[in-house]
Symmetry: C2
Subunit: 703 residues, 2 copies
């Protein structure tokens, strides 16, 4: 539902807002919204309700058509039975932006679902930017716009926040306002009948006042579109997101909360990573990351300096660095010389710098100054236990000044209770977060480093290989003609058409064809029964390895007899006669695909046998994949050293595996009819790969 994207200025920066369903009735949602707008909105609030002439001292109009001035945003709070008509009226009146607070749509029973379909049609007809239905509303702090029925307005800031849970917004604002954390725009997504996460990612990506995009999502409507928009956005705006329903229990809870079926966690994990989203698992990290990304610069390197007056907490900080993608900076000789001069003998001048317990503000400042000046240092954690000689407010000033001078990101750990409160405010003015727990400070800095990597990614387009698409289409069409939706080795031609190497071989329908096929192949052959009804060929003795030419005819008969005995009604397409592949000199790998409802084709790579089946050692990516992504899949499995020649093996031809993954990516992207596909094994030898067997499921309606 992204057809309405464009700018969302009308939504967040209207001059005039109509409240359709405005009222003074205490405790009602219409009252709450009108009141919130009247309280803080810099523009004009226009109540609409045929029952009143005036609401909260403002002229009230009977309908949106009667409003003389130009209205860009309407907030709809009328009962569900008349909501769709109210939205149509907005469309008729030329109001392009509509926030539908009204509930009782898709989140309830079938009546609600059909009402939501109507709403969607009306929105499409008038090309509306529609938020909701079942939304808490929207906020935008520059104009004081609070078109929600929540109890709190947001403080101004540069974080834009979308949430699929209105209650979560209410909770977050209550807390954030006390913490002094501000927002640019806030959107309660509701049922996402029209505008969804992708639209807001696009809008905020283009918004100079949004420094960080934050999201709480329970699902993503269109995974592919989201990846594309998020990739674009994250080149200059970080996205931090909780995608809940990660666990089996959580996914069930999502489905009862929103009524939608969650896609696979594997697909979300791969898709969000490919999209460049910093995915977090809890509320604390969501806001820890958001704050430091909004307040601090991105470091030039992941080398961190730790400056402390307390050895123990310094060690804890160092452990947290070891857990992160940061590394402990090695100071230059000059730095060590300067520290050695400035610090007392008992101090530790190697990283972490321990200025020891009697360090006063000057010693602390010197240590921080020397550390930040070192070009080996990309960022810093400043940590202080409370002592008689350190005033936290003074230290906060010093940290802020030094951070500003060197432009390197700093996280602060002033450890204590209330004595840290005013220092925190000083630090917040410098955009520096403060934590009691050193581990949180380090993880937050780590989010900057991880975002740096994301920002520096170069998104290559997936390679487009020269393939025989027509031949592939014919092979699939033939399956359709036979009425099969499960294909086996008879579809090896698909791989061949897309340039994935397969052993020489053909399917023989008669013994004499098998003999002639075997003669064309050098050496002994492998023979496999070909039947869409027999999926586990080996289990029924439907595969023979190392058959010499003279035994081919007998083996043909034997394989067919076995198959018929096993399953008398099985359709038998013939027997595949295939070149022998040297399994010993290669490594068995698996490349495969299944189609996710949200993200589409999800590619899989792993080593064959126990590695996939017992150790579950696989990498997945949403197709289409670039060469970089395919390479990451191959290198990302735990057992990757086996492909690089661990324990005296020949290294496998990694490039050939990567290329096969890219070609498979192209195949499954070209043919949405392919629902699942497994090449197992793809044997990777020192000089190339060979796809020995294939199995796929197609959606015949898509053919």
């Amino acid at each position: 539902m992204d057809e309405n994207t464009g700018g969302l200025d009308g939504l967040f920066a209207p001059e005039r807002v109509a409240v359709v369903g405005a009222t003074e009735t205490e405790g009602s949602i219409g009252r709450a919204i009108t009141g919130n707008l009247v309280a803080d909105f810099a523009g004009e609030t226009v109540p609409v309700n045929p029952k009143y002439d005036e609401v909260l001292g403002l002229d009230c109009y009977p309908d949106v058509a009667s409003i003389s001035d130009d209205v860009r945003l309407a907030v709809v709070v009328v009962p569900p039975s008349i909501a769709v008509d109210a939205i149509r009226d907005c469309g008729e009146a030329g109001i392009r932006n509509v926030v539908v607070i009204t509930a009782g749509f898709g989140e309830t029973g079938s009546e609600g679902a059909s009402r939501e379909r109507e709403l969607t049609e009306v929105a499409a007809e008038y090309d509306l930017n529609l938020v909701g239905p079942n939304s808490l509303g929207v906020m935008s702090t520059p104009s004081g716009l609070n078109a929600t029925f929540g109890p709190e307005n947001a403080l101004p800031g540069s974080i834009s926040f979308m949430s699929q849970s209105g209650a979560f917004i209410t909770a977050v604002l209550d807390w954030a306002n006390d913490e002094g954390i501000g927002f640019k725009d806030v959107v309660s997504l509701g049922n996402k009948a029209v505008l969804d996460e992708t639209d807001f990612v696009e809008a905020w990506s283009d918004d100079p006042d949004t420094d960080v995009i934050l999201g709480y999502l329970e699902g993503i409507e269109d995974g592919g579109a989201f990846i594309e928009s998020a990739r674009e956005a994250t080149t200059d705006t970080p996205i931090v997101m909780v995608k809940s329903g990660r666990t089996e229990a959580g996914a069930q809870a999502v489905s009862s909360h929103t009524g939608t079926l969650a896609g696979s966690e594997q697909a979300y994990e791969a898709g969000l990573e490919q999209a460049g989203v910093l995915r977090v698992e809890n509320v604390q990290e969501l806001f820890d990351f958001a704050q430091i990304l909004a307040g601090q610069p991105i470091p030039d390197s992941e080398e961190v300096a730790i400056v402390t007056n307390a050895g123990g907490p310094g060690v804890m900080t160092t452990d947290a660095v070891g857990d992160s993608s940061l590394s402990l900076a090695s100071f230059s000789e000059d730095t060590l010389a300067e520290l050695s001069e400035a610090m007392p003998e008992e101090a530790n001048i190697y990283n972490p710098i321990d200025a020891i317990g009697d360090a006063d503000i000057d010693r602390f400042e010197q240590a921080l100054d020397i550390a930040l000046a070192d070009e080996n240092v990309g960022c810093a954690v400043v940590l202080s236990a409370p002592t008689a000689v350190i005033d936290f407010d003074d230290l906060a000033e010093v940290i802020g000044e030094r951070q500003a001078e060197y432009g390197k990101p700093v996280a602060s750990v002033l450890m204590g209770g209330e004595r840290t409160e005013s220092a925190k405010m000083v630090l917040r003015e410098h955009g520096i977060p403060n934590y009691f727990d050193p581990a949180r400070a380090v993880r937050s800095l780590d989010s900057l480093v991880r975002y740096r990597e994301i920002r520096e990614r170069e998104y290559e387009a997936p390679e487009s290989f020269d393939v025989d698409r027509e031949r592939a289409r014919e092979i699939l069409a033939r399956a359709d003609e036979r009425g099969d939706n499960r294909l086996g080795v008879e579809a090896m031609g698909l791989l061949d058409a897309y340039g994935i190497p397969t052993p020489e071989g053909e399917i023989a329908e008669r013994p004499e064809d098998a003999v002639s096929a075997a003669r064309d192949i050098e050496g002994e052959v492998v023979m496999k029964i070909v039947s869409p009804d027999i999926l586990h060929k080996s289990d029924i003795g439907g595969v023979r390895v190392g058959v010499p030419d003279e035994d081919v005819a007998d083996t043909f008969e034997d394989l067919v007899t076995r198959a018929r005995n096993y399953q008398p009604d099985a359709e038998i397409l013939g027997v595949q006669v295939q070149e022998m592949v040297d399994l010993d000199s290669g490594t068995e790998t698996i490349i495969g695909m299944n189609r996710d409802p949200q993200f589409g084709p999800l590619l899989l790579f792993g080593l064959g046998g126990i590695f996939v089946e017992v150790l579950e050692d696989t990498e997945t990516r949403v197709a289409p994949v670039s060469e970089r992504e395919a390479t990451e899949m191959v290198d990302g499995i735990r057992s990757a050293p086996l492909l690089r020649g661990a324990r005296g093996r020949d290294p496998a031809d990694r490039e050939a595996i990567v290329e096969s993954l890219q070609r498979l990516s192209q195949l499954v992207t070209d043919f949405p009819a392919i629902l699942e596909l497994d090449v197992n094994p793809l044997v990777a030898g020192p000089d190339g790969v060979q796809a020995v067997d294939v199995r796929l499921t197609v959606d015949r309606d898509e053919l």
Copy 2:
């Protein structure tokens, strides 16, 4: 240094405390301690300093000998040069408990180290319970004892806390006092010259006023003693601990902070787990776990009910449950019927119970009451977003009352800012922690469930097998006679003596002996060169598999020639002639041991080849291990399904592997001289195991 253990009543509950080095000098440590004692201590403070007649209005004594009344605790704050003498004076005066604040001992250079040795000798001479040196001091809230120089005294409570960092104590108290978190005893361990973590675990384990033992440690002095004491303690008192220096960088930081070399993280991980310690990685979890363990009962089951008025945060809570060892409770039919009656139609009555946004206090209470009454529910999370109809103070009361009524542990997530403050206080009175982040609430409840498992563990003594210890001693002695500290297959007899099955075989010094040995063995044999100087036999062609009897003599000559060519000065003990082991029908495993400086013998188990070397899929435990622990090792590796017969293999004889681990455990416990030992491979077939090769390193000084 545990000889002084006994009770530590004199340390924490003295009637009279002498401050040796008491003074009124502003800014001095002696002043700070005397002042802290005078301020809060219910007993008598006795200043000792030859320079003064009076300190802070109290009579001051020239030395401890002159004090007429009985003094049980002395705090020593004199300069390092006279500290040892001052401690001796305490001993002479019959003061058994001494806290040494003075720094300048082992944590500084060699002069300090020798001073610390003197101190230890004096402590041993007078059998002193000595804390420190280089300690912040000790606190005990029942008597208001604050014998530290920190700025804050602790609030009363039931958590006893030890820390190897004094600064960490200062920071924690500053924060905890504002949070209302109280302590029973607090100890700054300092250099641990005499009393260490094991002594305090033992003392607090026997203390009825300590409900939870908390620790920040950078090292453990004696791993074996600690495991023993902690096992005993955790049968009724949970221990939560940060052991820092987990990471490589952290371990280096520990070594520069405390001057001690950290043992291996692997040993700490195994040892703390075996000790029943709940190990946490950061400050937040340390206190989250401590608070809920101190305030809430241990649940009867890990089944959790979630009661919320907010769907989205409910889903996040459910995800957190999926990440934990908790599971979502399935409500009984009765519960569902009651909820169905009590809740509105739009509510979700399945777990998580979503009482929806307009839930008032009565609906919330009903939902919680029904959930806690269900016998399938072991614990609960109550979660509320701020709404117009819920007052958090009222809700806190309700949560507290229901928790008390049902006696099941509850964690609370009242989400918001300042509006949660007074509710938090209400909850704290009921011992219920409150969090903004649902994930923290779930992890805290999870710590109760994990402690339940620890408490219920039955510590079986390690089995004592009937072994031939004398023969093992002789084999090791022979190696010593030869001047070797590295042994190979010539030490297979060690395994045999301890009942670990080995293939038939012997070491032949001459070809004719080899021939006769081979004749005694049925079928073909394996022949291996035996030399302490050649560790990688296969690499130099020093191993021959499948040698028929007629080739044994030639093979003998060939192996010896190869060895001599490879390394002319190698000592060659002979050639091992060994029964063939069927590697195909078994699985190659590795059992091994290395000796950790703190924890002693650390056993290792894994599958052979790539599983240990590439995938690092191993389990370790500190020896001696019980049958349960050995079984956990075998079942704990990721590749364990391969032993259970995954992919059509014969299942391996798991009991035989477990027994071999137990026997190896006995061997390395009996002989501290064995520094490292690897049985690789131990071939595990369907009917037993066979140790095919062994390699070990011994400390000849221990023989």
